[in-house]
Symmetry: D2
Subunit: 364 residues, 4 copies
């Protein structure tokens, strides 16, 4: 109930603070028989890890994950999978100042109100460092979904502050440090980020995630709609302030005749629904988008208060991402993978397996 677990049948429970000894997680409910090694997770961890370009934090973490249980002779056994990443670059610096301050837009003030105590080193539990374990767990889900159901989950950065992409070329996504699918926009993004870094400010971003090959039938139709669980999952990522499924907020100005995705024997004629109807997957691509706020840790001074309620000028030094959105694509993919995995198992529990070969409407 303290919210460190995601998923109902495929559950991911994480622990760890930014500057603690280690991050870890337990994946429970993974089906047995899946081939799994650290390398399967390392690929995604490396995509998320800091310090791979000048546009992200320079903290150096190898983010090497160890499997401690649940895998035997190269395959999952159905028992819980324990994962561990040791923190290696948690610099010991002087935290006496930050310990006494509530920085604006950080969780300092709220953690203190909630718990009466907080681990202030590097943000403690509120640091996005926790998302490393989500990525590791997501990699397990992703592998199962690909192998068992042919599902492919891919994300990209669709907007970096004022710069929106104009085309979606999947092959470009991993050719630049932004997960940007529009090669033409990359130089603009580079220049924007360089200027921003000099300025000392930060910026928001938008990430899209798409799952192809999802069979129709996943999702529980009332409170745990597939889209509701996706919204939950994506909004639980640090800095996310908005989530859309399919047409999202554009639906507000759409008429019914425009929004409804008509169906013909050859398939759906559009995908305003984003692949979810009545909370259940339709066989079309699942399409979600999320907004990330700009990083709150800035060296430009801002007004805060100290723990006694006195005004203080807050200046954040140290290593920070000027745009948290840049590294968020693998995290969004991981969360979508976990949601789909969980719903696949939930579906199978109640209804038996999906008919992988059921002829369904062709996708656009």
């Amino acid at each position: 109930m303290s919210g460190n677990t995601f998923g109902k049948l495929f559950t991911v429970t994480t622990f760890g603070e930014s500057h603690g000894a280690a991050l870890g997680c337990i994946i429970d409910g993974c089906p047995p028989g899946l081939e799994l090694s650290e390398a399967d997770m390392q690929r995604d961890l490396d995509r998320r890890k800091p310090g791979t370009s000048r546009h992200t934090t320079q903290r150096r973490e190898a983010d090497e994950v160890r499997i401690l249980s649940g895998v035997f002779e190269g395959r999952t056994t159905g028992t819980p999978i324990g994962l561990l990443i040791e923190n290696t670059d948690q610099r010991s610096k002087d935290y006496s100042k930050i310990a006494q301050q509530f920085r604006p837009a950080h969780a300092d003030y709220t953690y203190t109100h909630k718990y009466g105590i907080r681990d202030y080193r590097g943000g403690g539990r509120s640091s996005a460092r926790e998302t490393a374990m989500r990525v590791a767990a997501g990699a397990v889900a992703r592998k199962f979904l690909e192998q068992r159901l042919g599902i492919r989950i891919r994300g990209y950065l669709s907007q970096l502050g004022p710069i929106s992409i104009e085309k979606l070329d999947w092959d470009q996504v991993h050719q630049n440090p932004f997960f940007c699918p529009d090669a033409d926009k990359v130089p603009e993004m580079e220049a924007y980020m360089d200027a921003l870094r000099k300025e000392g400010d930060s910026i928001g971003a938008r990430i899209n995630v798409v799952a192809d090959g999802v069979p129709p039938g996943l999702g529980e139709p009332i409170f745990d709609r597939l889209d509701a669980d996706l919204a939950h999952a994506l909004m639980s990522i640090n800095a996310v302030k908005g989530v859309e499924i399919g047409a999202g907020f554009e639906s507000v100005t759409q008429k019914g005749t425009e929004h409804r995705d008509e169906m013909t024997p050859d398939g759906f004629l559009s995908n305003n629904a984003g692949g979810v109807l009545g909370g259940i997957s339709s066989g079309q691509p699942i399409v979600a988008s999320m907004a990330l706020k700009p990083t709150s840790s800035l060296r430009l001074p801002g007004q805060g208060i100290d723990v006694d309620g006195n005004p203080v000028e807050v200046v954040t030094t140290g290593r920070h991402d000027p745009c948290v959105g840049i590294r968020a694509t693998p995290i969004a993919e991981a969360m979508m993978a976990i949601v789909l995995m969980d719903h696949y198992l939930r579906h199978r529990g109640q209804n038996g397996d999906v008919s992988v070969d059921t002829p369904v409407l062709k996708q656009l």
Copy 2:
């Protein structure tokens, strides 16, 4: 796991189909000692119920709720509260056509894939009629939150298709059939809806919800952030396609110096966060917004397929809301109330009670 329950400590489990015998729900975990009668729920039910203006469906349902358990001598006892609303206007009509069709943008196709069977009368379980029980349950949460913590939850329609409100006058919200807080826009909305009805089309809408007086400290900081649970709750409402907290998608283009809500001893200087920092309430108003898609049931023909995969022209007759957003405000309020109630109890379980009188930062 079949997703008919919302909440972890204050849980609401609903049942019932649009044209079945009755709708019902069980509220479990309600604190004992709360004064409660049917009238407390009826007020909100009446705000949601159909047929109160020409702009909503003409189905006539009294939506009279009965308390079957959990209340003794006018007070909750801490045991489960059973609620029941009998369906009274489920017209028996000929469903043979709809039984054979998958209508575009409806859940017909997905339910069939999921379960292999569906109750096609009036949409069955996928009908928004289910939300009546959410409103009833939300009224219980709302009453507790008001009495115990002084929390006030209010929503309004902020956009009806192309018409956006320009001012927020809470006193206006219940003076018109739209929950519109801007009296100047009401005639425009009336005209728009009248034209739309003639046309046979439908339109989307945007609803905002605000909770004032929420103490700092509510929300679990990783997966069950207060904003993540809100996103889950709101996205679980029929027709919702997008959710924002605070600045929402505007965060994408905000710089850090703009977005961060600075703090002074006199309070926060802005509320881009929407009252949630690090997943935990900050004491500022909780602000959420949601997008609703246009109704899918249209008398304008659309392309669908039948159960054998043949093309069919779908025309929906019967009684439908041309804008589901119009009746959605009380539902959004109810879901926010349930989320806050649940998180209050979760907080109290782990951390002991919130300090109602703790001096916190003043709200803007």
Copy 3:
């Protein structure tokens, strides 16, 4: 978290007080496509219902159950099944005395400490009347298990106070009001109960339950072992004070060579395990036994206290079972059915379906 729900995938949530308007429950997670009508539940409800012999309470309740949702054209749809039983014989009597007393061995004292308020009419929520809904829900599980997996669940009274059965003849179980499988013991039981009733005292009992045909593989091996969940389920029945699986407490004095159930190609050579090894079903019959304490409501005076802490002599009048164990057999069967059903769905979620036709060791 308030404990009115049992099961994880096949969940049963009950509400209702002894003398309230109605009892109800929601079954969530039932697989779609199961033929179901009220008659399926009524059979078991009638076996549990009061007033069928002079040895049980004379309260007259038809215990007629209505299905309010989740069933369409005679089959379950996969959506929640709402069930309702109206209370019809909750005599309005004067409760002013009982309202002021804490009766010994009743829940009066503990409910008051927990909630600060209690519904004292007929025991309120603490009455065993609540178990009617368990029996109704269990009937659904039982039907599925029989039809889908060939599982048969049967219970019997194995001991009534000092009278133990000496043989197990399944055909006798429904030939007498005690669910006693040993016809020779029935006259003795009749005489014992008649004497007890005159005396004004009550007596304990022991019930055994057996499930045949359970495929190997059900049960989650650590905390949610099949036997641990069974212990939970049976101990949650009113008046139960002890639970055994297989050899139970006899295991204490058994040597390993005696206890271990040896295996040959022709099957297991004994069943001390009670059908569960390492928390997982072995394919042998699941065997459980439970102890029920004597009824606490006696007309023989006992020492209690009143709500102000003063001593009072408590005499319970009204209609009560002198041996709650007599009507407990269908309840124990129901709980075992729910546990097995839940574990079957849990197993299927993570591992795919059981191989119904897998050649397994023959059962003894």
Copy 4:
């Protein structure tokens, strides 16, 4: 849903196999502000650990636990507590034989049916080695309960095979390797175990656990009664086959006038209830008892089958406890501590804090 988590608000999720890299667990929901260090857990771990007398397995494990998160400056922060114990004495031996055999009374056969794969090294996940993490987690619960509520939880061995204790002297419990509270019986137990070891056989045992100082009001009255959750918790310990609360199976032959614990202003006059009425604690000591079966790993040959269904003679070599009950006392205490902790938080969530100073009936 795979059952590796215990508790609803205070949750303990474990991972790890007998001969894997490490055991670990995550405690989620621990209240903030509790002083905690490894030493608090080590004390109980040392009581459980193997190799401390000739009567238990000679496997040498330091069982040194590391806190990886959730504790800052010596106090819990309210965030998840990650714990790790590296396995150090998992001898690499030849497992080729055991890999092909289903040993009687082991989980080999059932794991294989469930998962299609099993980690056969030392029993894998089915080994009681997993209980080390329960003891570590239980120590956290125990410390909180003692400090916050004055609850004391203590267990003892009440029967070793044919030898029953005749007196309960708490001071003796830690003066002998059996947790036996009756010093007079210890020589007999020593002799019995020495003979048994020579013989190559094993024996069952009975453990009792008692919690003093539990405030009235803990427990959820229907499915999650305090006694039902205790039964679940204790039955989930490896080798447990029976659980009793209070008078347990003796209730079967008790009359109501004998069983009911009468109340006077000076307190209850007996404790047949074992401290639980209507599923809720009464303020009396919580008393539970459990039966453990004899160890299944014997060097005396037994009949088993191999994975192809052929008969095999199974002889278990290696290091094993001839009576698993001997080391089970700390495990039973740990599980009771976790149950009480969880129910305290559950109670506080719904009902607010218990009144620690409420004048309640004196305990016997």
